[in-house]
Amino acid sequence: MTVGIVLVSHSAALARATADVAGALSGPDVLLEPAGGTDDGGMGTSIELIRSAVTKADAGDGVLILMDMGSSVLTAKTLQADLEDADLEEDGGEPTVRLADAPFVEGAVAAAVLASTGADLEAVAQSAEQAWSMRKL
């Protein structure tokens, strides 16, 4: 079992760099997909970029989505509602997604490392969310 991780940011560069930092710790088995910026590369959020990142990250064990702030959060929530609707209306084949309420970088690192151990979606989500209580000094 390997949970996938999607990183949603206003900034394509921030999503990509965070995926690289977390991937350096988790190793290559965890699919970390950045979904930053608008579909034309500007600052903002694109539901279609997030949707295709979710598809890429999903290996059948579910996908955890981390968001930086503002429109990233609102767009990820909207996608989640969409996928749940589609799952009800259609064949039920949509990936299971869980949104993480977590600090972006610290949550991504914690989630990626735990995902690399084969933990399930709920456990990976909790490790990201517990990153609010980590301290650095």
Binding site: M43, I47, T75, K77
Partner: protein, 208 residues
Amino acid sequence: MTLDTATTIAWITRAAELVRADESRLTALDAAIGDGDHGANLARGLAAAVTAMGEKEPESPGKALIAAGRGLVAKTGGASGPLYGTGFRRAGKELGDGGDVGQVGAALEAMLRGIEELGGATQGDKTIIDALAPAVVAFQEAAGNGSDLHAAAEAAADAADAGLAATVPLQARKGRASYLGPRSVGHEDPGAASTALILRALADVTAP
């Protein structure tokens, strides 16, 4: 008159026109307390909404609003995209095949609830809600007093304008502007300003 499919399409098309005409004003408002993209975001999002309705050829007012909502979510790029997009989709689900003044009032209320649920804002947070909530109240009050669709939409648009003006002294508690704390005071909220245009567009297209 009722809000039939053609009038619904006309509403969103008119909203796109009004936003495009005022794009630089909306952008300037967002530059003051946000990141200066609200005008461009919503002009792009509403253009996509119009295109989506054109492609879908919806056979009911409700389906027209759902298509518009999808276009908005897909292309706006900022916080206002998922908010308005979810709002229009909720309104469309509520509206269905209907379109009399009472049904439109219920649809606007569903739009309000959808935006509240997604964004977690309440009145006074200096957002879309500060224009939309009083507009819904005014619309339903007018409808309750026997107004027709146009008169109710006029009342809603006027209430939205008043709600927009009332955002000036508020400190933002949601969205990017909330990061500014007290510095967000003294400016109109860009999302409240675009909401006022969307309701004005409804009044425009329902005029006899």
